[in-house]
C-alpha cells in the first residue's frame, strides 16, 4: 500500500456532526473529541483531530466477503442455561448453540453456511481473547465447535490457526497443542526460545519479523515514546514491538489468513465495551499503547476498515457464556455473571451495539451508575457512515433463539 496520507479528519468531523444532528441536539462540534478514557491529567483544551490513513483503507475496493458481510445489522443471540452450570461449560450444549446461531444467522444449513462464508482452501484464523482466563476469556469449547464445523465441511486442520496478539497468554486460556491437536496456535508477539525475553541476543525485539511493515495503521503525531503508563520507552517497546507513528499488521493476518472468525469475550471497558471490534482492533496490529488515550474507540473502527481485516472477517461470535458487567477490562469476580448466551453476526458493529445496549441494561439492573454519553458508541455510528456495519438500533435486527 502506498504511503499517502489523505486526511480523513474532515470526514471524521462530518460523521460526528451528522450524529449530533441525528440526535437532535443541534450542537456544533469544534474539532474532534477524545473518544476513549480521558487522558490522565489533561487540561480542558480539546485536542486537534488526529490524522490517520483511514482514507487509504477506504479507497481500496471492498472484497466479496467484506464486512458487514451478507447480513448487515443482523445479530442472532442464542441462549441456553444448560451451557454453563456451576461455572462448568457443557461442550455439547455449546456446540448445539453454535449450530443454532450459525443456521439462524444465515437461514441455511451448516453445510450451506460454510459454503457461503468459506472454501476448503481457506486458511482460517480464529481470533480468541485469552486475557482474563479462566474467568472471562474465549471458551475453548466454543472454539471446538467452530473447528468441528470447519473440518466437517472439508477445511483441513492444518488450515486453521487459533491466534491472539500475545502468544504467552494463550496457554493459560487453554489454547495449547495438547488441547487442540493438529491446529496451529500462534501469537503475533512472541518471546525468545527460553520464553524469558522479548529481545534476541542483538537486543532486537524477537517479534519484529512477525509484522508486515508494508501494511499499517497510521496515526500522525501519535508515537510510542513517553507514553503515559509505561516505565520507559524500552518497556513500551517490549510490549509493543515498534514505537513510531505506524502500527503494523501481523503477517499472519496480511499474508497467511484468508478468512477470520472473531471470537470475542463479553465484558465492559469503563463505560464502553471490549468485545468484537476491540478484540480485533487492538490485536491485529502492534504499537497500540500510543493509541489508547487519543484514539481508543476510533481504532476499533478504523483498524477493522483495513482491507486485510475488512475483507477477511466473515463471522463474529461473541462469547457471552460468562460475562462481566463492570470493573473491566480487568477481571473482577464481583462483576462476573453467567450470561449463557452467544451472539452471532457477520457485522461486528451491529454485534457490538446489541451487546453494548445489553450490558448497559445489565449495569443498571445491578445498580451501577451508568454514564450513557454518546462518545461510548460513536465509533459504531462512525463505522456505519463508512459502510462497514449497522449501528442504528432501529435498523438492527436482533434475533433471539435457543438451542
Amino acid at each position: 500500500m502506498a504511503r499517502s496520507y489523505t486526511s480523513m479528519d474532515s470526514a471524521w468531523r462530518m460523521h460526528r456532526r451528522e450524529f449530533l444532528h441525528a440526535l437532535g441536539t443541534g450542537t456544533a462540534v469544534a474539532g474532534g473529541l477524545v473518544l476513549g478514557v480521558p487522558t490522565f491529567g489533561q487540561d480542558t483544551k480539546v485536542p486537534p483531530p488526529v490524522e490517520t490513513n483511514i482514507a487509504d483503507f477506504m479507497k481500496v475496493p471492498k472484497g466479496p466477503h467484506a464486512i458487514p458481510g451478507p447480513f448487515p445489522g443482523r445479530v442472532v443471540e442464542v441462549t441456553d442455561r444448560r451451557s454453563l452450570v456451576d461455572d462448568k461449560v457443557d461442550a455439547a450444549v455449546v456446540a448445539a448453540m453454535f449450530a443454532k446461531g450459525v443456521t439462524t444467522l444465515t437461514g441455511k444449513s451448516m453445510k450451506k453456511s460454510f459454503k457461503k462464508l468459506f472454501t476448503p482452501e481457506d486458511v482460517v484464523g480464529l481470533k480468541v481473547n485469552p486475557v482474563g482466563a479462566p474467568h472471562i476469556s474465549t471458551t475453548p469449547e466454543l472454539v471446538d465447535a467452530v473447528i468441528s464445523w470447519l473440518v466437517d465441511n472439508g477445511l483441513p486442520k492444518k488450515n486453521i490457526v487459533i491466534w491472539d496478539r500475545f502468544a504467552p497468554m494463550l496457554p493459560a486460556a487453554g489454547y495449547t497443542a495438547e488441547r487442540f491437536p493438529g491446529i496451529a496456535i500462534e501469537g503475533l508477539q512472541t518471546m525468545d526460545e527460553e520464553g524469558s525475553s522479548w529481545r534476541n541476543a542483538a537486543g532486537k525485539h524477537v517479534s519484529i519479523p512477525n509484522f508486515d511493515q508494508e501494511v499499517f495503521y497510521f496515526a500522525k503525531g501519535i508515537v510510542g515514546k513517553g507514553v503515559r503508563g509505561y516505565k520507559d520507552d524500552e518497556y513500551y517497546e517490549n510490549q509493543h514491538v515498534f514505537t513510531g507513528e505506524y502500527s503494523y499488521f501481523g503477517k499472519l493476518v496480511t499474508q497467511r489468513l484468508t478468512k477470520i472468525v472473531n471470537l470475542a469475550a463479553y465484558k465492559n471497558t469503563g463505560n464502553g465495551i471490549s468485545m468484537a471490534t476491540k478484540n480485533l482492533g487492538y490485536a491485529a496490529i502492534c504499537n497500540t499503547g500510543r493509541l489508547h488515550a487519543p484514539l481508543f474507540f476510533r481504532v476499533c473502527t478504523e483498524v477493522l476498515a483495513a482491507p486485510t481485516v475488512r475483507d477477511k472477517l466473515v463471522l463474529n461470535v461473541t462469547d457471552g457464556l460468562r460475562a462481566q458487567y463492570d470493573g473491566g477490562p480487568d477481571v473482577n469476580e464481583q462483576f462476573l455473571y453467567a450470561n449463557h448466551s452467544l451472539y452471532f453476526a457477520t457485522d461486528p458493529f451491529a454485534a457490538d451495539m446489541v451487546c453494548h445496549r445489553q450490558l448497559v441494561a445489565k449495569r443498571k439492573a445491578m445498580g451501577v451508575t451508568v454514564n450513557e454519553h454518546p462518545r461510548f458508541t460513536e465509533y459504531l455510528h462512525y463505522a456505519e457512515t463508512l459502510g462497514l456495519g449497522v449501528a442504528d438500533p432501529a435498523r438492527i435486527t436482533h434475533v433471539l433463539a435457543s438451542a
Partner: protein, 287 residues
C-alpha cells in the same frame, strides 16, 4: 505464577526493586494454613503499575497511588496473589475499593471492610487497598483468601475520619458512594466536559458522589466537590460552565448556576456555593 503474571512481571523487569515496600505485612509461611510464599516480593511504583494491571491503572493513579507490593503464595496446587496497594491517603484507598467492590459480600470473620467471593477478596483499611486472588475455585480457597488478607490488614492501624462524611445521607442509595479526583473517576458518573473540567487535580481536591432517590423514587447522581478556597471553587465552576460538553445543552445560566439538558433529555445542574461546587445529573426534571 500464571503465564499472564509471568509475562507482566517480565515486562516490568520483575518489579525487582530492592526496597521492601509493605513486605513486612505479608504473613509468613504457615501462618495461614496451607499457604507458602513462592518467589520474591514484587514492588511496583508509579506508572509501573501498568505492568501489573491490565487496563485499570488509571483509577489508582488518579486517586493517588504510592506503590503496590505483591507476594505470591502456593496453596493446594494453585497460586494466590496477595497485592497490597498503598495509596496516598485513606480516601484514595476507599475510592479504589468503592469502584471495584460491587455488591459487597463480606465474611463475618474479618473485621476490616471487605468483600469476598469464590476466588477473589478485596479489602480496604486506612491507606491500603488489598486484593487477594486465586486462580480457580477450590475447597478451602475462600478461607485462605480471608486468612492472608486478614493477616496483612491486621498490621495496619484503622483510619480516622470518614472520607465520605460530606455526603448527605438522606435519600442516598446504599452502595453508590464514590470518590472523585479527576476525569477518570468523574467519567464513571457523568461527562461534563473533557479533561479535568472540575479542576480537581489542579486543586488537589476530592469530590464525593452518590446516587439519590428523589421524592418520586427516581434515581439521580449528585457530586459534591470541596475546594481549598471559594476562589478555587469559582474557577472550577467557570471551567465547567465555559467548557460544557457539547452533548449538554445549557437551558439556564446565571452567576453561580448552570442548568443543562443531556443527550437523552435528562437534566442536570452545576451550582457554586462558597468553596463547594455541586453537580446533579440524570434528573427527570430540571433541578
Amino acid at each position: 505464577m500464571s503465564a499472564a503474571a509471568a509475562l507482566l512481571a517480565l515486562a516490568v523487569g520483575a518489579g525487582g526493586e530492592a526496597a521492601a515496600g509493605d513486605a513486612a505485612l505479608f504473613p509468613a509461611d504457615g501462618v495461614v494454613a496451607g499457604c507458602t510464599r513462592t518467589g520474591a516480593v514484587e514492588i511496583y511504583t508509579g506508572s509501573e503499575l501498568y505492568g501489573l494491571i491490565d487496563g485499570g491503572a488509571e483509577l489508582f493513579l488518579e486517586l493517588g497511588f504510592v506503590r503496590t507490593t505483591v507476594q505470591r503464595y502456593a496453596f493446594a496446587g494453585q497460586e494466590i496473589s496477595l497485592e497490597l496497594y498503598r495509596m496516598r491517603d485513606p480516601a484514595a484507598a476507599l475510592g479504589v475499593y468503592l469502584m471495584k467492590c460491587g455488591r459487597e459480600t463480606p465474611d463475618r470473620s474479618l473485621p476490616a471492610r471487605h468483600t469476598v467471593g469464590r476466588v477473589q477478596l478485596q479489602l480496604v483499611k486506612a491507606e491500603l487497598y488489598i486484593a487477594a486472588t486465586g486462580e480457580k475455585v477450590a475447597d478451602g480457597l475462600r478461607g485462605a483468601l480471608l486468612g492472608l488478607a486478614g493477616a496483612a490488614a491486621g498490621g495496619v492501624a484503622a483510619a480516622g475520619a470518614d472520607p465520605l462524611a460530606a455526603l448527605p445521607r438522606v435519600g442516598l442509595v446504599a452502595g453508590s458512594e464514590r470518590l472523585i479526583r479527576g476525569p477518570y473517576t468523574l467519567q464513571a458518573i457523568v461527562t461534563l466536559g473533557d479533561g479535568d473540567v472540575l479542576q480537581l487535580q489542579a486543586n488537589a481536591a476530592t469530590a464525593v458522589a452518590g446516587e439519590y432517590l428523589d421524592p418520586d423514587g427516581a434515581r439521580f447522581s449528585r457530586i459534591l466537590a470541596d475546594y481549598p478556597t471559594a476562589e478555587a471553587a469559582a474557577r472550577a465552576f467557570a471551567s465547567v460552565r465555559d467548557n460544557l460538553d457539547p452533548y449538554l445543552t445549557p437551558i439556564e445560566r446565571s452567576a453561580g448556576r448552570v442548568v443543562f439538558r443531556d443527550h437523552a433529555g435528562r437534566f442536570g445542574a452545576v451550582v457554586l456555593a462558597g468553596a463547594r461546587v455541586e453537580v446533579q445529573a440524570n434528573r427527570l426534571a430540571a433541578p
